[in-house]
């Protein structure tokens, strides 16, 4: 009755975008506020 799911620590979206030189474009095009997940007024 106890199960463990290993988690992989992979590349982040930011790292992938930075490697492709797209991070600045994406950051400006899709500005992100972490609070939007908990409060729609930030959407």
């Amino acid at each position: 009755c106890l199960v463990q799911v290993p988690l992989e620590k992979g590349k982040t979206a930011r790292e992938i975008l930075e490697e492709q030189g797209l991070w600045e474009e994406y950051r400006l095009k899709y500005p992100y506020n972490p609070m939007v997940k908990f409060d729609n007024s930030f959407a």
């Binding site: 106890l2 620590k9 982040t12 930011r14 991070w23 899709y30 500005p31 992100y32 609070m35």
Partner: protein, 319 residues
């Protein structure tokens, strides 16, 4: 149609493998304590984001049943749209029968760059879009877990070690005693923080504040003035919308301490500074709300136990 806000955090790094259907189809998912729905891409989605991920094909599963209801999940920068179905979901060794889940038909462009295919929410059912029963609620209902709790250990090591444990607490992943903190709201994993100090001085959360322990947020997020204070004290400066620090100064930066339930939860600079292609960033981000989010930056330092049975969070120094 039900809606739920979710993450599109560009710094999320941790994911695990689950499978859905018979025979099983595998997916990488973020185990997200800040949301409650399970969803994965489906073959009915042709967005670039879906095309970059594994997709669930219902017709290949003998145990799949359609629900018919639509699902819309709002991101900060777009949305995931889809529909609901039921199937067997295998998480670790547990086969959760008749689990309701979302199959996306459209996804926001940003998802294209996330490693995970989907999200598995671990917050309370009241938060769930379309009233879909969360995976852990079905684990409890179906008697799959001996204790109604799960725990999360996040390792800084990129290769291995991070783990979600369902049904128990793994003493190998923490040292010292566990501080149990009652929830202040049974919607998210929300607790009360008493204050935040640096070198014994209160720099934020004076008089107390509310914080959500969230594996689906990468940073520690707080109100603008509080985060500005902390970043100023640790020597961060703003550059192109990012809070940067000099990589050479990490060793000289002070500890930041969260006071919770009469205990001190201290973060050394090595924990709250992250290095990227562009340099070193502060792990404290502005959320613009009075609410705080204790994300992966915090959870990496403190093994976190999410106790649905007693509606409390347990924190202990990660080992």
């Amino acid at each position: 149609v039900g809606t739920q806000s979710m993450t599109n955090d560009a710094d999320l790094a941790y994911f695990g493998i689950i499978s859905i259907g018979t025979p099983p189809q595998s997916f990488k998912v973020v185990f997200d304590t800040g949301s409650s729905n399970l969803w994965v891409p489906s073959i009915y989605c042709s967005s670039p984001a879906c095309n970059n991920h594994d997709k669930f094909n219902p017709s290949l599963s003998s145990t799949y049943r359609q629900n018919g209801a639509s699902l819309r999940i709002q991101y900060g920068t777009g949305s995931m749209i889809g529909f609901l179905g039921y199937d067997t979901v295998t998480v670790g060794g547990f086969a959760v029968q008749n689990q309701i889940f979302g199959l996306s038909t459209s996804e926001a462009p940003f998802m294209q760059y996330m490693r995970a295919d989907g999200i598995l929410g671990l917050a309370y059912p009241r938060l769930s879009a379309s009233g879909a029963t969360p995976v852990f609620d079905n684990m409890m209902k179906q008697g799959l877990v001996s204790q109604d709790l799960f725990s999360v250990y996040l390792s800084s090591n990129s290769n291995s070690g991070s783990v979600v444990t369902f049904g128990g607490i793994d003493p190998n992943h923490y040292s010292g005693s566990i501080t149990w903190i009652p929830l202040s709201s049974e919607l998210y994993w929300q607790i009360t923080v008493d204050s935040v100090t640096v070198n014994g001085q209160v720099v934020a959360c004076n008089g107390g504040c509310q914080a959500i322990v969230d594996t689906g947020t990468s940073l520690i997020v707080g109100p603008q003035s509080s985060i500005s204070n902390i970043n100023q004290v640790v020597g961060a400066y703003s550059q192109n919308g990012n809070d940067m620090v000099s990589c050479n100064n990490i060793g000289q930066m002070p500890d930041v301490t969260f006071h919770i339930q009469g205990q001190e939860f201290t973060l050394p600079s090595s924990a709250y500074i992250r290095q990227s292609y562009y340099g070193c960033h502060s792990g404290f981000g502005n959320g613009g709300s009075s609410l705080w989010i204790l994300g992966d930056v915090f959870i990496r330092q403190y093994y976190s136990i999410f106790d649905r049975g007693q509606n409390r969070v347990g924190l202990a120094r990660a080992a």
